[in-house]
């Protein structure tokens, strides 16, 4: 196997940077692990350690309401010898980041973002190569902070990226297995199923140069997905001693939001403020809102399923129950694939400035609230609103740019002209 020299340099430097941060600043992982922007109740590394301790001492990790993560993570981390726990987890997380970057490079090289089966962008030649996309992911400060903070969402991100990479290279079965793993780990990736089926179908069609039977393919993909989930759940049941109590404290927590620890999302403050009698109703509304994008985007952007997935990842980073900057880093990893529509985006500077402002003010206001005591919860919540505003600006703007790109194929005479609402 020939190893690309540029790829080797990129991966070595990214790994070296992370190793330096892990081992020359020993207080950094501790600091970042405790940050609410990185660790949520369902992904926190500290809680994982707590669960691991209970698991290795033969106590059910789901007793006590601290650990809300998937059971299969426990035997994985239990394999790591306790004496070398922190250096080996550091290496594990660095490896995961590199795997993610590798998947991203596969996705870029497939060229799916510029020309899918049903649509070829007139701008497709203006793109970044796979090294540039991978380095944009690996050297993104959010990705680095996530890697050092070691939340388990990195596993989910890696599984999602592999599902996409397998789908675009015409391997629907492994793609569905990877998506099954992602959904098993943190539930919300299940919403990516419809666009992923479309992507798998397009990938398969491109691979075989003939149109497969739509109903049959969908049924196959669905059954593989369900089978993989059923298999993971079965394994989990065996691991937790045959009880299904883990379901309530993993997926139940995602669905019902019992833990209102602050995070960068919009749910926690809303549900703190709400009267309990309205809780069920608004939980339903919030989840319905999150799910509503899936169908609409799949229909409107049928020709570009990869962009549907990208946009959904952006929407999840804003609106899911326990978002963190790790979800943002996943969205920002996918976005450079759409380099060719960047010139059509109109508010990049403002969106980026908003996000940078929120990145600085968020920790400052959290400090004022929690440590200095001179602020209150509204300070931090206001900044999470700004953060979400910045992200939604990017989501909406990139959506606009892609639609505009499609529109210019249909109406070539309108190229370069202003659109306006009538």
């Amino acid at each position: 196997m020939v190893i690309d020299r540029r790829k080797a340099i990129l991966f070595t430097s990214a790994a070296a940077l992370r190793l330096v941060l892990f081992f020359t600043f020993p207080s950094l992982p501790v600091l970042l692990t405790g940050r609410v922007e990185i660790s949520t109740p369902v992904t926190s590394f500290k809680r994982l350690q707590e669960g691991l301790f209970l698991y290795t001492h033969n106590v059910s990790p789901y007793d006590g309401g601290v650990f809300h993560q998937a059971p299969l993570l426990l035997p994985l981390f239990a394999l790591i010898p306790p004496s070398l726990f922190s250096p080996l987890t550091a290496i594990l997380y660095i490896g995961l980041d590199l795997l993610c970057a590798n998947a991203l490079m596969h996705i870029t090289e497939s060229g799916e973002s510029g020309s899918s089966r049903l649509f070829t962008s007139p701008r497709k030649d203006m793109k970044w190569d796979s090294i540039a996309v991978a380095s944009a992911y690996l050297f993104n400060p959010f990705t680095i902070a996530t890697c050092i903070g070691r939340p388990t969402s990195v596993f989910t991100n890696c599984a999602i990226l592999y599902a996409i990479a397998q789908a675009v290279s015409g391997k629907p079965i492994t793609s569905m297995l990877a998506l099954g793993l992602a959904s098993y780990l943190s539930l919300y990736p299940a919403l990516l199923l419809p666009p992923m089926i479309l992507l798998c179908y397009d990938g398969k069609a491109r691979e075989t140069k003939a149109l497969p039977n739509a109903t049959f393919s969908t049924a196959t993909y669905l059954s593989v997905f369900s089978a993989s989930i059923a298999w993971f759940l079965h394994l989990s049941k065996i691991l937790t001693g045959g009880s299904t109590a883990y379901l309530a404290s993993t997926y139940g927590v995602h669905l019902l939001l019992p833990d209102l620890t602050p995070n960068v999302g919009l749910w926690w403050y809303f549900f703190i403020e709400m009267f309990d009698s309205f809780r069920e109703f608004f939980l339903g509304v919030f989840w319905l809102h999150l799910g509503a994008y899936v169908g609409a985007l799949c229909i409107r952007l049928r020709t570009q399923p990869l962009f549907v997935i990208t946009t959904l990842l952006g929407i999840f980073a804003i609106f899911k129950p326990y978002p963190s900057i790790s979800d943002t880093s996943l969205y920002l990893a996918m976005l450079p694939l759409y380099r060719h529509v960047f010139p059509l985006m109109r508010y990049t500077f403002f969106a980026m400035a908003t996000i940078l402002y929120a990145t600085l003010l968020g920790p400052a206001f959290y400090y004022l609230w929690i440590y200095a005591g001179s602020g209150n919860a509204n300070f931090f919540y206001a900044i999470t609103l700004v953060w979400s505003l910045g992200l939604s600006e990017i989501v909406a703007d990139s959506l606009f740019a892609v639609l505009r790109d499609e529109w210019e194929v249909e109406r070539p005479e309108m190229k370069g002209k202003d659109v306006r609402q009538i």
Binding site: A353, L356, L361, F365, A372, G373, S374, I422
Partner: protein, 617 residues
Amino acid sequence: MALISPTILALRRDPRLLKLPPYLSALCLFIGVVWLCLLPLNEYSRHTYISENALLPGQVHTYFGGSEKNVYNAYKYEVQALVGKDQKATYEKLSDIFISAGLRPARQKYEYYAAGNTYSGENVYAILHAPRGDATEAIVLVAAWTNMDGDLNQSGVALALALARYFKRWSLWSKDIIILITGDSRAGPQAWVDAYHDEHTSPLVAPLPLKSGALQGVVVIDNALDHPFESLHIVYDGINGQLPNLDLLNTAVSIASGQLGIGISLQRMWKHNDSYQERLQTMLRGMVSQGLGHSSGPHSSFIPYHVDAITLQAVGDGGQDEMAMGRCVESIFRSLNNLLEHFHQSFFFYLLMQANRFVSIGTYLPSAMLVAVSFTIMAIALWIRSGRPPSPKAASTDFEKEKTEMEVVRKDGMTAIIPKENLTILERQLFLPVALVVAVHFFGAIPLYVFINSSRNTLPSYFVVFTVLNSLLPTVLANTIHYYTPLTPQHHLLLQSFSLLVLGMFLATLATVNFSLSLFVGLLSTPLSFTGYSFSYSVDAKEVFPSPARKYVSILVLQLLSPTVVVWAVCYMWGVDLGEMLAEAAFGWKVNGLWTQVVIWCIWWPAWMLGGVLVLV
């Protein structure tokens, strides 16, 4: 909405609008400064008031006096007898005094290294357990052995000991009272409060053998005088410009001036006639002290732990004896004893212009924010400008006037012909400017590291060397960049845009934590917005790269306002020794966790450096 948006969209391209931002930015700066000057007026500042009803300041009769005076005199004699004795004997004696008052003493050793000096000593303290409490809350009475000027705090320590003995006799305390005699005024309190919250990292700081509950308030007594004093000077600035709750300060002021008739002064303003000028001066002194963020008294170390603290300093020669100060402390403690919750009711962000006048954050924050916003406005303007294509070659000299490409636009039934250049947006080359901005900000770590870790003897010489290097560095950097990749006009605009964006962002964030520092750095950086042709909106090389005349003026202004020159100027103006100041800053970082140096070297210095490079490229 549908009707408004086309109008707004059309306005977007209006050349007048594109010319507006630099003026808007200058206007923001102007309003920011004028706003600050308006604050001392009656219309903008407010009379202080007690917000927490539970405090009831000055509502109790104070009994500290009479025969307590003899006890006090005896303790003062003991303290004076300890002058010249070795430290061990001093701490032994203090412990004995606590024991004789019926309190159990405890001791803590500490040692810090900073700027090549060793700061070591011992804290002695005792806990008076509350007869009516459950040891979940405590208030602290502090007297440092030596005060901030290094003088023996003879009357202060004696008074604290006398009060400890006196408080012990009362049965009304519902919070534990900790009486703490620290070894000095800066390292000792920090070591004690760190250890109290188990945050002491250095092995040279010992843990505390005795502890009580959550600290609710701290009063520090500083009286190095050997004669009756004239008035009380209240010091309230904490580390990094954090302030104690205004209620604590108001309580002290209303008790001292209202109940006991002792005059109050703030920020070393010994004479205050309530004129505009004096109010402004008090406010500005407060802001300078807040901006520096250094420890201004033993109370400063407590404030980062969200423990509200003030220092009462006896000043002047007058008719108030020490017992009056004791009664003042007694009354403050009775008020603190009444507290039902931690101080939270009143303001944490305020500027005082007199003991009983203040402005709150809502009134003063706009001035710092306007300064920060002025940078962001310029950043946005430069970004928009950088996206415009260069205008076609100037045609005035040519006989055949080149025809500008025109575009017919129809809108709302009207037709207009617009030069095509107004409609297209150029792709921006982002990599080089972003990389430069990030790299220069990381370089800030070098001076920071040097000035934190050098010793007191070498600091001044390092600073001289750095000042010289620093004045040459923009030229070197500009030439290096020019040698490898000559900057295009667009690079130039983008570099300035990102640099200003980052500066504006940091300053806005800083303004929420330390208003004064943000404002000062912002005001000193204002020229950075206006170097080059900031009032033009063309992207031609001659409109972007400064002409020689402009270049020299800009260089002169930037060199005069460089961080190093400002540090020299400040030392000269205040008559402070440069080495002393740098050593204090290093001490602040190592011991108190002071962030001012980080702001200077990692925010201000990189912005200045990029500004210098932009002028010279």
